[in-house]
């Protein structure tokens, strides 16, 4: 059940986040981003959330102005991949408090860190929202401590 990549793409086709779980050359990456973005943006609302691209399946869902797109193998469980996306959105939402595209633009590194807590090597590593948020808050707390130490010096 491997996710090959996660893309966040705006309705205008701008990439907001791209995370690759398999090794690919920069050229291949660019091609996939271009092709998949085009395919997904062309889909209408009532259509299903899955489509085929070459030998892979693309599973996507739109949240407001952002498309969350994943590429998976043909044998993967489609619905659960969809719910991985949703869990990611939920965690982002809780972390930023009503998340919007701008949050993800200005804090792109956070978006990556949060994704790292959910997925490693394209596999779900943690599905509990509480546990993921705890991990992120621990990271933040470490940073705050470091900053305070700096000030006290």
């Amino acid at each position: 059940m491997t996710i090959n990549y996660v893309l966040l793409v705006s309705r205008q086709g701008k990439t907001r986040l791209a995370k690759w779980f398999t090794t690919m050359s920069p050229k291949e990456k660019t091609k996939i981003i271009k092709d998949v973005t085009q395919l997904v943006l062309a889909r209408r609302t009532k259509m299903c959330n899955f489509l085929e691209y070459k030998d892979t399946k693309v599973i996507y869902r739109r949240y407001a102005s952002l498309y969350f797109i994943t590429g998976v193998g043909t044998q993967d469980n489609e619905l659960l991949t969809l719910e991985i996306i949703h869990r990611y959105v939920e965690v982002l939402d809780r972390y930023f408090g009503n998340v919007c595209e701008l949050d993800l633009i200005f804090n792109f590194q956070r978006a990556y860190f949060i994704l790292d807590e959910l997925l490693i090597a394209g596999e779900m590593q943690e599905s509990s929202k509480v546990t993921v948020l705890q991990a992120i808050h621990d990271q933040d707390a470490t940073e705050v401590d470091e900053a305070n130490e700096e000030k006290n010096k």
Binding site: L79, F108, T142
Partner: protein, 947 residues
């Protein structure tokens, strides 16, 4: 912590309304950063800020060709926030084969060894993201340590498991998976569901490569599923919209699809409960989209597993009803998955009737608004096609072909061609369909398709005339596709003479039809047609003139291939005699039968460590090579050979019990049985629980012989004891059946986790657990495990057990169970006359075995000898032997499949010489020999001298 500089920069970029402005701003910033980096002596904060800016530009799609070194520098910072950005930088910017990888390996190792777990995590993320060979080779050991170490925190373990998965996928040779199998598999029992989820992913990947080493994952997966789904034992954090950890459920259900069905009846029962519960739960109306998706995701995976286990089971029947509802659903996702799962069922089952009821709905799905759904409909139609419905399905597909998406057409053509070939009952239908296909969708007809037609027509004489007629007809239509011309050229060249007497098919008319389009086609087709023409010269000398004109004209054409053909053909045709012409143009021989190129084109290859498909689209025959089936076939082979040698009964019966189709099981095992010469110590019933390649005897727990010998007389007592665990047994026997209870006592004050007992029973003895054992033993607690024993054939070995548990680290104990052949003897008493009558009847060797046993001085003990006989369940017949002190004992050894064996023996002690003479006669030489050995060992055994 936000970085002001970064925020300002991002805002600037956002304000650039046109791309040129953005580019200008980016270039300015890059120049600025380059200077700053060149100047050096930047603070950690500044370095971090600039790297972040570069990353943002990278995400926007700009090429970043510097800054890598600064990112590497940040990794070795002592500050977490800087380290974190450094790692993000290298994971985004660095390629796995980059030279810089060498620079970071050491920093990563340092972070892996750090006592601070959040540093461990950053390092693991980086390995999982980059995962080059060098990293795998130097760091796999550290990752493994973090995974199995009892000191690792759950959140580190999870990451370590998936990091290892990534390394395994990229470099399978670096991970010694079989050696690590046991410790890794045990983590499936981990209390933390997140850890369990990650490890299940890892095990799923490893088990596909090394199924035999990971057999023990089967019971673990089933028990975990049972716990979560039936016992509803899970932490509330992991409930996702009312569904407990759906990802784990799906993973475990998938994992089981890579193994053949379990043969342990208890496990099978548990799994049945799990699947039934899932089906029942699916009847609940979901609250919202998320709940619905999670519920259906599990349901679909459960149905896939049920189909894998037994596609004719009751569960599958229930599932079919549900699927029928799904393919009518208003929700597109559900329709899509319903069709996909139904295609899985259709691909493996013999029972297509249930599915055929929905043929109309499925055909309608070809007209769905969504191409994704249409594709699934096509797959399903292809899978459910058989002789009875091929005509309907094929004609529907051809009709649909005209309006189908371009992206879909080639696949459709291929599939139609395969179905037509596979299910054609009349040859003419085959020809009709393929020609129709070529004429209506010529562009999408791959080379394979028309090659195949030519092959088939050549190999079937009765098709030749008909196809020649039809192809000529099609070539006359105004829109004749070039592929049709190729087929036509070949067929008319070979079989044109068969129709030459029909109206409208005269030689010159055939030639004109072909040549009318000659000028319009590609060079390759023209070359082919030139060959047809030379064949015509041979078949129809009357049109030679017209043809020579063409050759003559093409002798001067620019293309070398055409020119050569024209010249050569011209030369052959104008020779004084026709001898050479006739030899060259002799009728084509039949093609050797080979696998259709069409099928091989369809079955695409999967990478070595990618998740394998658990089934293939298509009929039953395309599903015999799935991973689980291959494994089952392998087992069948092993069992077959054992069966062959020892009992000589038909292979087919055992092949079936091993859970596969009897037919190929027996065929394969017959081949195998002849070659193999040593009976493997496995039986049909125990094969699944036996890890292959382990020689358990070499690993017996030290000191366990002492306890084993004490229990050999069949009494109850301690089988093993050390400072942690005490194992006791109790047993009773009746005829060929027995019951054995084992008690496992935890002597420590901590819990023993991952507790597993595996029994390896010898050929002919079936040992089945009568309920499932707990996976852990609480502090100072005892648990009990019951086994039922059945002696099916003559057994010459005792069962072995392996106990493993986790207490700080994983411990394994190997023990022998004192279940000897004599346990299945029932004592009998015979009169003197009866005894001697039978004694004579059995006669001398080989069914008689005699041994003189010399014991230590003064160790002849009549009472001991008597109790040894009685304990080995032999009846002592008094007053049969005239000499007092001599023993005569009798019994009947029972088996359920190989009948009964009468056992008679005489034991003559001689106190003067310190010797026993033991004579055993039974109706089986194997039993005689073995019974003698058992008694001999017992007589020689001296409990005061522990060996």
């Amino acid at each position: 912590m936000s970085m002001r500089g970064l925020t300002v920069f991002i805002a600037d970029i956002r304000n650039c309304r046109v791309r040129e402005l953005e580019e200008k701003r980016i270039n300015k910033e890059m120049a600025n950063i380059r200077t700053k980096f060149k100047e050096g002596s930047l603070s950690g904060y500044d370095k971090k800020k600039y790297v972040c800016k570069l990353l943002y530009m990278y995400i926007l799609g700009w090429d970043i060709d510097f800054g890598h070194m600064e990112a590497v520098g940040l990794i070795s910072s002592t500050k977490y926030s800087e380290k974190q950005i450094g790692y993000l930088g290298i994971t985004l910017l660095m390629h796995e084969n980059s030279d810089l990888v060498r620079l970071v390996v050491n920093s990563i190792r340092k972070d892996l060894e750090d006592n601070n777990e959040i540093h461990n995590c950053l390092a693991l993320h980086a390995i999982a993201n980059i995962g080059g060979r060098e990293m795998a080779e130097s760091l796999a050991g550290d990752v493994h340590r973090l995974l199995v170490s009892p000191n690792s925190k759950s959140f580190v373990k999870k990451k370590a498991a998936l990091t290892m998965l990534r390394l395994f996928r990229k470099h399978p040779d670096v991970i010694p998976a079989p050696d690590w199998a046991e410790r890794i598999t045990n983590i499936i029992d981990d209390y933390d569901l997140g850890v369990c989820l990650s490890v299940t992913s890892l095990v799923t990947a490893l088990a596909q490569q090394y199924p035999e080493s990971f057999m023990m994952a089967i019971p673990k997966a089933i028990m975990r599923l049972h716990k979560v789904i039936v016992e509803r034992d899970f932490s509330a954090d992991y409930v996702y919209y009312k569904i407990p950890i759906p990802w784990l459920q799906v993973k475990l259900l998938r994992l089981l699809q890579y193994f053949p069905p379990t043969e342990d009846p208890n496990m099978a029962e548990m799994l049945h409960n799990v699947l039934q519960t899932i089906i029942n739960n699916s009847l609940e109306t979901p609250r919202n989209v998320q709940h619905n998706n999670a519920q259906n995701a599990i349901l679909f995976e459960a149905i896939n597993l049920a189909i894998h286990l037994d596609c004719e089971s009751d569960i599958v029947r229930q599932a079919t009803t549900i699927l029928a509802r799904f393919i009518l659903s208003k929700e597109t996702n559900v329709r899509y998955l319903g069709l996909e799962t139904m295609a899985h069922l259709a691909a493996v089952t013999d029972e297509l009737d249930e599915i055929k009821k929905h043929e109309e709905t499925i055909i309608l799905s070809l007209r769905d608004k969504d191409i994704s759904v249409r594709r699934r409909g096509l797959d399903l139609l292809y899978s459910m096609c058989d002789v009875s419905n091929a005509k309907t399905i094929v004609s529907e597909l051809i009709r649909y072909l005209h309006i189908a998406d371009y992206a879909l057409r080639e696949e459709m053509v291929l599939k139609i061609a395969i179905m037509t070939e596979k299910y054609a009952t009349e040859h003419s239908w085959y020809v009709d369909v393929i020609l129709q296909l070529i004429s209506s969708a010529g562009d999408h007809v791959g080379e394979e398709v028309w090659y195949r037609v030519v092959q088939i027509v050549t190999n079937h004489e009765n098709l030749q005339e008909y196809s020649a007629k039809m192809v000529l007809h099609y070539m006359r239509s105004p829109h004749c596709h070039e592929n049709m011309l190729k087929v036509g050229g070949y067929i008319l060249g070979e079989y044109g003479h068969l129709i030459a007497n029909l109206p409208g098919c005269s030689p010159i008319e055939q030639f004109n039809t072909l040549h009318a389009r000659f000028g319009l086609c590609s060079l390759a087709t023209r070359a082919l047609l030139l060959s047809t023409y030379i064949k015509f010269v041979n078949l129809f000398p009357e049109i030679k003139g017209a043809i020579l004109a063409v050759f003559n004209q093409y002798r001067h054409v620019l293309d070398a291939e055409l020119q050569q053909r024209a010249c050569e053909y011209m030369a052959i045709a104008t020779m004084p005699t026709d001898d050479l012409l006739q030899t060259v143009c002799e009728e084509m021989p039949q093609f050797p039968e080979r696998e259709s190129a069409l099928l091989s084109r369809l079955n695409e290859k999967t990478g070595q460590t990618e998740d394998k498909r658990t089934w293939n689209i298509g009929g039953k025959d395309s599903n015999e090579k799935t991973p689980a089936n291959l494994l089952a076939a392998k087992e069948r082979n092993e069992n077959g050979s054992v069966d062959d040698l020892v009992a000589g009964v038909s292979n087919a019966s055992l092949g079936t019990t091993a859970g596969g189709e009897g037919e190929d099981g027996s065929a394969a095992s017959a081949a195998n049985g002849g070659a193999s010469s040593t009976p493997a110590a496995s039986s049909a019933a125990s094969a699944s629980s036996k890890p292959a390649g382990l020689s358990w005897k070499d690993q017996l727990a030290p000191g366990s012989e002492k306890w084993y010998n004490r229990l050999r007389d069949g009494s109850d007592g301690v089988l093993y004891e050390d400072s942690i665990l005490q194992i006791g047994i109790k047993s009773e026997y009746h005829g060929h059946l027995g019951r054995l209870a084992m008690y496992f006592g935890n002597k420590t004050h901590t819990q023993l986790g991952s507790f597993t007992v595996t029994v390896d029973s010898p050929e002919g003895l079936v040992v089945a657990s009568s309920h499932t054992l707990a996976t852990s033993i609480g502090p100072s607690t005892q648990i009990q495990q019951l086994y039922s024993l059945e002696c099916q054939q003559i057994v010459t070995e005792v069962p072995m057990i392996r106990i493993s548990y986790h207490a700080g680290s994983t411990q394994s104990i190997y023990l022998r169970l004192p279940v000897t052949l004599t346990r299945f003897i029932e004592p009998i008493q015979l009169s003197s006359a009866d005894f001697f009558a039978r004694w004579k009847q059995i006669g001398g060797p080989p069914r008689e075995v005699q041994e003189v046993i010399k014991v230590a001085p003064d160790r002849i003990d009549l009472e001991k000898a008597r109790s040894i006989l009685v304990n080995n369940r032999l009846g002592i017949c008094e007053n049969v032997d005239p000499k007092p002190g001599n023993f005569v004992a009798t019994g009947v050894f029972n088996t359920s499949m190989s009948g009964k064996v009468g056992c008679l023996l005489r034991l003559e002690p001689n106190k003067e010489t310190d010797m026993y003479r033991l004579t055993v006669r039974t109706t089986s030489d194997v039993v005689s020999k073995h019974l003698k050995e058992i008694l001999q060992t017992a007589l020689l055994y001296n409990p005061n001298h522990t060996r």
